[in-house]
């Protein structure tokens, strides 16, 4: 394995055995993931619900043992040196992990002490972090009374209070208002400036696009594509044209005709919509409309856009991430 990478996995797998109605069923949650995360980058897992994002992160954070595969984090072998890995990483789970019957301050201090910091440092850190995450006004209240956003801020502070060199964040901004999200993104970028490596999961396209240096598209426990957001979008090599029709029959028929007559890189029919990936979309648009018109197929809406990560997702998985969110 390579020194350049601070997190590396080789054929990482996790199977769960779930029992339903007395029958044992094997769920392959993670099916052979190879990761190579560079020191100091923001690496994002983008994928729909159930893709295996949390499962992968739990394995990296030492609390879930892999079914098979190798993991190296910060030079340590997960199977042999979990304790050293725990010292190197901070982990903020999807559920958070705030103790709601303690105050924010107590949560922060105990967390520091568990990482082996002395009392004085723990106290100082707790104050620093309440300040940094703008929690001073509520840090002395029991966490049970916090709003969702306040609680999420405390979750994140708990994950980084011991100054880890690697941060694993499971859906850090889920449920936050746009303002808090923007604020957290800035905070995550600041951490990167400090040299911290961040591995986050998200199902927000804009979060992956704007925040991450590298994005891995993960679906059904596998990485379907990986690269910088720009490169992933460039690889599509085409603009995306979305045509909306009145009913499914029309969209199907249009899809057939378009794939025959137009030189597109891809035509995908989804419900009443047809996605067309095409070079120089602006110039081709009139031809497309003329063709449909001459076949008496009525277009109800048209949009032309440069490729987004959703198009990347659609191309690699055959599904749209946006549809999943609905």
């Amino acid at each position: 394995m390579n020194d350049q990478f601070i997190i590396e996995t080789k054929d990482l797998r996790k199977n769960f055995i779930s029992k339903s109605k007395g029958k044992k069923k094997i769920v392959e949650a993670v099916k052979g993931i190879n990761l190579a995360v560079k020191k100091g980058e923001i690496y994002g897992f983008l994928g729909p619900n159930g893709a295996g994002k949390s499962t992968t992160q739990k394995m990296l954070s030492t609390i879930l043992s892999p079914t098979s595969g190798e993991v190296r984090i910060n030079g340590y072998d997960l199977a042999k040196q979990p304790q050293q890995i725990r010292q190197s990483i901070g982990y903020v789970s999807q559920a958070g992990g705030t103790d709601s019957m303690s105050t924010g301050m107590e949560n922060l201090i105990l967390q520091s002490l568990l990482y082996g910091l002395d009392k004085e440092t723990a106290q100082k850190r707790a104050l620093q972090f309440t300040d940094r995450f703008q929690m001073s006004s509520f840090a002395d209240r029991l966490a049970v009374s916090y709003s969702g956003g306040q609680r999420r801020r405390l979750d994140l502070a708990l994950g980084m209070i011991h100054h880890p060199s690697i941060l694993l964040l499971d859906e850090p901004t889920v449920g936050l208002d746009p303002q808090s999200r923007a604020y957290l993104w800035d905070e995550i970028r600041n951490l990167k400036e400090e040299g911290i490596t961040i591995l986050l999961t998200t199902h927000y396209l804009d979060e992956a696009d704007k925040l991450c240096d590298t994005v891995a598209i993960i679906d059904y426990g596998e990485i379907a594509a990986e690269g910088t957001p720009a490169k992933l979008k460039d690889d599509i090599g085409a603009d995306s044209v979305l045509l909306g029709f009145g009913d499914i029959n029309t969209s199907k028929k249009s899809g057939e005709i378009l794939s025959k007559e137009i030189e597109a890189q891809g035509v995908k029919v989804e419900d009443k919509n047809v996605h067309l990936y095409i070079r120089n979309g602006e110039r081709e648009l009139p031809n497309i409309l003329r063709l449909l018109d001459s076949n008496n197929l009525i277009v109800e809406s048209i949009s032309l856009s440069k490729p987004s990560l959703d198009d990347v997702f659609l191309k690699h998985t055959g599904r749209s991430l946006r549809e999943d969110d609905k």
């Binding site: 739990k58 954070s61 609390i63 725990r86 789970s93 958070g96 303690s102 967390q111 082996g116």
Partner: protein, 253 residues
């Protein structure tokens, strides 16, 4: 050393929770108090039957009642753990380098403290009702209840970790706790029971604890029952504690 320090941290956290919400300490006292005021008077008129000498019913009943408090008071502590597993608090502790033993031990210690306070309160209530207390024996009996609390709390935590659900936990614990208390001679001396129940009770570790508790209250510290009772509950506590820690280590795997 490190594990001891972390156990203290976890203990302080749990104790703070209890101090903030002390209502449970007292709710748990409600049942034994009911037995004390509504059941014990019935026993009084029974005095004179085998195992229940006339005029000594209080002396026989209270030590058993305290064992029952230790059993039931500690049996349901797993509920709090289920909640903390669900909200990710336990997972957060497991990601730190802190000792897994400390995560369980800190909670169990808090349960022991709560139980000892309850036992002292019940004993104080019983003195006006005619209980005579031998100080040395009483202190020893507190130690016995502490060990019982460790055993029951650890078992409760092990089940909580394995089931991760309040419903399953509740029915499992009830299924276990009720026969244990019926077969330990807490309510009535087992001397009254038919032979087959007496035989069955020999398989119940807590029937020895009840015997030990009664011997201690009568000041008979060196009694064979005391030694046997202690040995049995200590072994049981060690086993269930080890089981709880092991379950925690395997929790997510």
């Amino acid at each position: 050393m490190k594990a001891l320090y972390e156990t203290r941290l976890m203990f302080q956290r749990s104790l703070k929770h209890t101090v903030r919400n002390p209502i449970w300490v007292f709710l748990n006292l409600f049942q034994p108090l009911l037995y004390l005021f509504l059941f014990m008077p019935l026993l009084k008129s029974l005095g004179g039957v085998p195992g229940l000498p006339a005029g000594k019913t209080v002396q026989i009943f209270i030590p058993g009642l305290l064992v029952m408090l230790a059993l039931f008071g500690s049996a349901f502590v797993g509920f709090g753990l289920v909640d903390e597993i669900r909200t990710g608090v336990i997972e957060r502790f497991l990601v730190t380098p802190a000792s897994r033993v400390a995560v369980i031990a800190g909670r169990v210690l808090k349960d022991v403290v709560v139980l000892l306070i309850q036992c002292i309160l019940i004993t104080l209530f019983s003195i006006p009702m005619g209980l005579s207390v031998n100080i040395e024996g009483f202190l020893m009996s507190l130690l016995l209840y502490a060990v019982i609390a460790i055993a029951m709390a650890s078992m409760s935590y092990a089940f909580a970790i394995i089931f991760k659900s309040e419903d399953t936990l509740a029915s499992t614990l009830n299924t276990i706790a009720l026969p244990i208390s019926l077969l330990s001679g807490i309510m009535l001396p087992l001397a009254l029971a038919p032979l087959w129940i007496r035989d069955l009770s020999k398989a119940n570790p807590f029937s020895y604890a009840v015997n030990a508790s009664r011997a201690l209250f009568s000041g008979d510290i060196g009694n064979k029952d005391v030694i046997i009772g202690f040995i049995i509950v200590i072994l049981l506590a060690a086993l269930t504690f080890w089981w709880a820690v092991r379950s925690l280590k395997k929790m997510a795997a």
